[in-house]
């Protein structure tokens, strides 16, 4: 049966019911299987890229439900314990009123109790976990760990949850005591004194004797500095047989990798890093395939019989125009390269779409933006950026189907005209927000910073458009690298880039450089900015080399970024 529920809901994963997580989650092409291991993993990516969804999917509660629906018993080999960090408990700041040692101790205590609670909650959900276990011995061991008696009468795990929560509440009441200005609490726990022994107790249950516990720490960037250092110290533990950490972070730059003892955890040695926001260069890339599977699944779950491509069709006029451009460009390529199929094909790839944009009349309306692959390019590799315009398009169709007489029934697709309308509207809104609201929305962004950010992106848009319309080489490049770096210029630019990243207007990736095969950072403005400026969001797998000086001049003085001729550009590719 077809539902008119919007299939493109983009609520945060924590707001989705378990069955919807199972319905929507796609395991392929997004490294999620790395989670199901003994490794420590850091999942890094901006808001909306699927970190919470990935952790929740791998939690025991969801895996248990999955097994139930699949008709078999859930495996106890890997038990995921989901620990959310974006809670008022994490945001408490009273530790700042203590000396540094007390601050560390109280901070770790809060975090450790949260983890212990989630362990107890998860164990309580495992059916038959206590089969064959010596419950009295377990109770004794747990009481030894806590150095206190467990509540009597309750089942073991319910008693444990009650006990941990009582400890947490008591800590908070003492620290927030309105009868004293003192901030102190002495009966604290640590990871070594509570969590590790608790997991050890779990292993005493025959059913869990070989289980590995994955501590799924979500939004770790919300932890305070002491908690982050403690977490890093635990990640540095040598023995991963009993437990491992899967930690979701907005970015590594924000979170220190330092441990409590002043050392650092090392990628490769202590953890594996998964970058959740993937480069998207074409439909065959991992993200392209992932996006296709995800949308197909959502359509299917809503009873809509369509593929992503048929649900979001390309405008026939656009297809026809692109075909004409392709024929023209192919003829040029054959004239230039003769029978060399690879050179001809490369030439068509580079210039087919550029020819379409160049051959449009100056009096024509904005280009059309339609087709599923266009939506995927516009997302710039972030899942929520893909779902949002789809949501708006579907919502528009629901509104229209209610208004037009005789137009009822399921939504079978989004007409290209509606796709273009919504995309242009979203693009315009993004520029309006950048111009008018950035300074009021992003932490640490002054009005000057906001102005500079706008000028920078505005000049980049103008530069890319000039390339698209006139440049001989790489006309559709919409990302850039930075040459001529100096400490002073990069310090100023990085401040703006930090703001733009937080605003999700800019993404920074690592890729291979043309020069001697090194790695380099490249910068990709959010492609949803481009339709309003008449640019091609499909872009091209090429990066323009721009100097730090001209980028700063664009930002600070609103100076245009010159489009260099081909010879100068080739030279620029080898600049440091």
């Amino acid at each position: 049966m077809t539902s008119r529920k919007n299939p493109f809901e983009y609520l945060g994963a924590n707001d989705l019911p378990p069955d919807m997580i199972l319905d929507y989650y796609v395991e392929d092409f997004n490294y999620s299987r790395f989670i199901q291991s003994n490794r420590n993993v850091l999942l890094v990516g901006e808001r909306g890229c699927g970190k919470s969804m990935t952790l929740l999917y791998n939690s025991w509660a969801i895996q248990q439900r999955k097994a139930e629906l699949d008709g078999h018993a859930p495996s106890l080999d890997l038990i995921g314990i989901y620990v959310p960090c974006n809670t008022p408990l994490t945001h408490k700041g009273e530790y700042q009123l203590c000396d540094r040692f007390q601050a560390q101790v109280i901070s770790e205590h809060h975090l450790v109790l949260s983890i212990a609670f989630r362990i107890a909650e998860t164990l309580a959900r495992i059916p038959n976990a206590l089969d064959g276990a010596d419950v009295d011995r377990l109770r004794d061991k747990i009481e030894f760990v806590f150095a206190k008696e467990m509540p009597s009468g309750a089942s073991l795990f319910d008693g444990l949850m009650e006990f941990v929560e009582r400890e947490s509440l008591e800590t908070q009441r003492r620290i927030n005591d309105p009868k004293t200005a003192e901030v102190a609490y002495n009966d604290t726990y640590t990871f070594s004194s509570l969590v590790a022994p608790l997991l050890g107790c779990a292993r005493l249950m025959p059913a869990l004797a070989r289980s590995h516990f994955m501590l799924l720490i979500d939004d770790a960037h919300d932890l305070n500095e002491h908690q982050l250092r403690s977490l890093n110290s635990w990640i540095a533990y040598r023995d991963h047989s009993l437990f491992s950490f899967k930690v979701a972070l907005a970015s590594i730059g924000k979170a220190s990798l330092r441990t409590s003892s002043g050392g650092s955890i090392l990628e490769g040695h202590d953890y594996t890093r998964l970058n959740m926001v993937q480069p998207f260069h074409n439909e065959a890339s991992d993200f392209g395939r992932f996006a296709g599977q995800m949308i197909a699944r959502r359509l299917d779950k809503c009873g809509i019989e369509a593929t992503p491509d048929t649900f979001f069709p390309v405008s026939p006029q656009l297809l026809a125009d692109l075909k004409k451009s392709e024929e023209t460009v192919r003829a040029e390529a054959i004239a230039k390269y003769g029978d060399d199929p690879r050179k001809v094909s490369d030439h068509v790839y580079k210039y087919k779409r550029a020819h379409y944009f160049r051959s449009r009349s100056t009096k024509a309306n904005r280009p059309e933006y339609s087709g599923f692959d266009t939506l995927v390019f516009l997302s710039t590799g972030v899942i929520r950026n893909l779902l949002q315009p789809c949501y708006w398009m579907y919502d528009k169709m629901l509104s229209l189907s209610g208004q037009a007489e005789g137009v009822q029934g399921p939504i079978r697709g989004i007409p290209p005209s509606i796709q273009t309308e919504i995309i242009l509207d979203r693009s315009r809104s993004l520029w309006d927000w950048l111009r008018d609201e950035l300074g009021q929305s992003i932490e640490g962004c002054s009005s000057e910073d906001a102005g500079r950010c706008h000028q920078l992106l505005d000049q980049l848009a103008t530069h890319f458009r000039e390339r698209l319309l006139h440049h001989k080489s790489e006309p559709r490049a919409v990302s850039f690298t930075i040459s001529g770096r100096t400490d002073d210029l990069m310090s100023k630019l990085n401040h703006l880039f930090r703001i733009l990243r937080e605003a999700q207007l800019l993404y920074i990736r690592s890729g291979s450089a043309k020069d001697k095969g090194r790695r380099e950072w490249y910068y990709i403005p959010n492609r949803m900015l481009w339709p309003e400026r008449g640019l091609d969001p499909h872009g091209q797998h090429a990066r323009v080399s721009l100097s730090a000086a001209e980028l700063w001049a664009a930002a600070s003085e609103n100076r245009p970024i010159a489009v260099r001729d081909e010879a100068a550009e080739l030279k620029g590719l080898f600049d440091e």
Binding site: Y10, L11, P88, L89, K92, Q96, E165, S168, N176, E443
Partner: protein, 295 residues
Amino acid sequence: MNESDSIIAFASWEERFRLGFDQIVRTAQPSQVLLYYFEEYADWTSDNRTHALNTCKTSASEFIEQKLSVATPADNWQRIRDDLRVSVTPGSRVTVDLTTMPREIIWNVFWMLDLIGCRIDYSYFRPAGYGDWLSREPQRPRLIYKLSGITRLKARTALVVLAGYDVDRTKQLMAFFEPEITLLGLQSLDKDPTNDQRMRKQREQAERFSQDGRVECFSLDAYAPDCGEEIVGQQIVGYLDSHNIVMSSLGPKPSAVSLYRLHRKHRATALAYAPSKEFSREYSRGFGEGVFGSV
């Protein structure tokens, strides 16, 4: 307004600070005035602070001026704690002038005065009108020291925001706390002619936010005798057992009083502050009516 042993105020460059200060000193006839200000705005507030000093000389009130910093909330809390321990005695009557006092400082001061055991009155003077923009460069929201509530480990968050004129500060609080539900209080029955239009903008934005989570709007009047306490109380009562409640006041300052009172009744609730780094020199103009009461 009652006579007071002490007045605690916060200096601003606005006209209503100066005129309101004169009025409360004249009426309360305090033996002591404690005036705080932010060092980052020392130049802007210099004239008004000098005026305050002269007012106190005329009324023979002891004048104590203390510098705080926008950047160091922990130091500010400790400064206020140390000052009030020395300056204020249990059982004394203290008037807190809320007019240009940041909400975080309001709540810190209320908490300290309750700890000491004072009778707390408040005063608030409205301006005649507001500027086009009020604040910029939002900083990370934070829970108030000692008023951060009691968090239950399994409960989701319910966020209460008493909206002001800066729509983006509301959005920022929602983005930061990621609540399951946001209860958005919109000021009604306001004498400011721009209020209705601004609250309409808040409501429109709220409808857009609701794609990222549930938002329910309600109306309140922060200038009512109870500062809107009863209405806000009715909104939160259904969530006290099921959610961790975080409350923030962005609207008329008297709403900070109602949230503080509600926290005192329900200590598990948390108070949150959404700081800004930059304030408008033209934040407000003129001098309007005064509002007085007891905490």
